[in-house]
Amino acid sequence: MCAGSLATVTKGTALDLVGTLFRLGLAGVWLVSGWVKASDPNQTYIAVHAYDVLPSGVVSVVAGAMPFLELALGVLLLVGLGTRITAALSCLVLLAFVAAVAQSWARGLSIDCGCFGGGGQVAKGDTRYPQEIARDIGFLVLAVWLLVRPRTRLAVDAVVGRRGGV
């Protein structure tokens, strides 16, 4: 019985540590991609425009908002505040990114996703749609983990609500 509860504690600790790594990892992803986009708004506009989904007035707003949405998600994950809701929003944003890349691929556009800066039209043979989608799905795994099990170490959530996460 003693051994059993010890094993449970150890397993819980291990899961907490994995969650912590995932939380900080996803925070890093959002902070880097948000920062790169925020520091070159013109390039971000070109990147969003290249997906050829939105009317240009909306492109302008989306290109203006997206970097700061990413930065906000990054900061919240970094400090571990509202991990569950932040993870849920991260999932939505990542799914939207995957959908955007997938529609470009399906329609035969030749663009760079502009995920971490850059973006816009590229030569026909230079597209990397499978890799871009695979990378986003990798990030999605981190977000889903935190959505299901938001309990992590070094998080504001642990101080606010003892049960960790919302």
């Binding site: 013109n42 390039q43 506009y45 302008s60 908002a65 949405l69 505040l81 026909k124 919302v166």
Partner: protein, 266 residues
Amino acid sequence: MGGAERSARKRRQNQAVTRTAPVAAARKAGSNRNPVIVGVLVVVIIAAAVIAGVIYSNSKKNSTESAAIAVQQVSLSVPATRDGAVVTVGKDTAKATIDVYEDFLCPICGEFEKTYGPQIEQHLADGTLRVRYHMVNLLNDRSDPAGYSTDSANAALLAADAGKFYQFHKSLFADQPEEGARGWSKDQLTALGNSLGITTPAFAAGIQSGTYNQQITDAYNQARSNPSLQVDIGNGQTGFGTPTIAANNKTIDTSAPTWLTTLLAN
């Protein structure tokens, strides 16, 4: 007496219980309320970041709204005549003629002008070179808001009608908006013309109405489908791009710095 004392003690005990109960209830409610507060806080933080971000990006984009396009004067006295969407600059007696396809928003065109503009200007002045400028609107949807390529090309053609094409063209490339950024507005283009001494009402009215917009689009479509203007765009594919320089119906590779002297020598 004894009974009353007992019942009084019991009452106090009951009071003590009811007194601690609300605290426990509040504590319980508090642990349920925290997630809600955190959720609201997260939504507020994200909304604030997004709104502040949009305002910041917009104000950064619109920072050129009150600016004036810097004026570039030239001391070039060669004819410049407009025919459709093409402006021919230089003397008829020039032994070489080149076709230059440019978009006022295209950054590589800006670099081309910066690198070779002075050389071209010098050969225009000494009468050895004639240049046919084709201002295309390839990047029309790459400014925010869209439309700068067409507006600027149209304004340049109207400037040609007023005898100020070369200065106008030079000024727009010297003070070029970035792709994805706000282009110069129609009013700013008009103001540039005014600074260059264009006072005809037709100029300002033509910029507003887009006199040559259709001709510019037609000329661009023609150039785009012209087989002799296709260049290598990487990966073994060809296409039309800007800047494209051509002479005698053949494109010229301008990556070699001596391309113009080579052309004029032959």
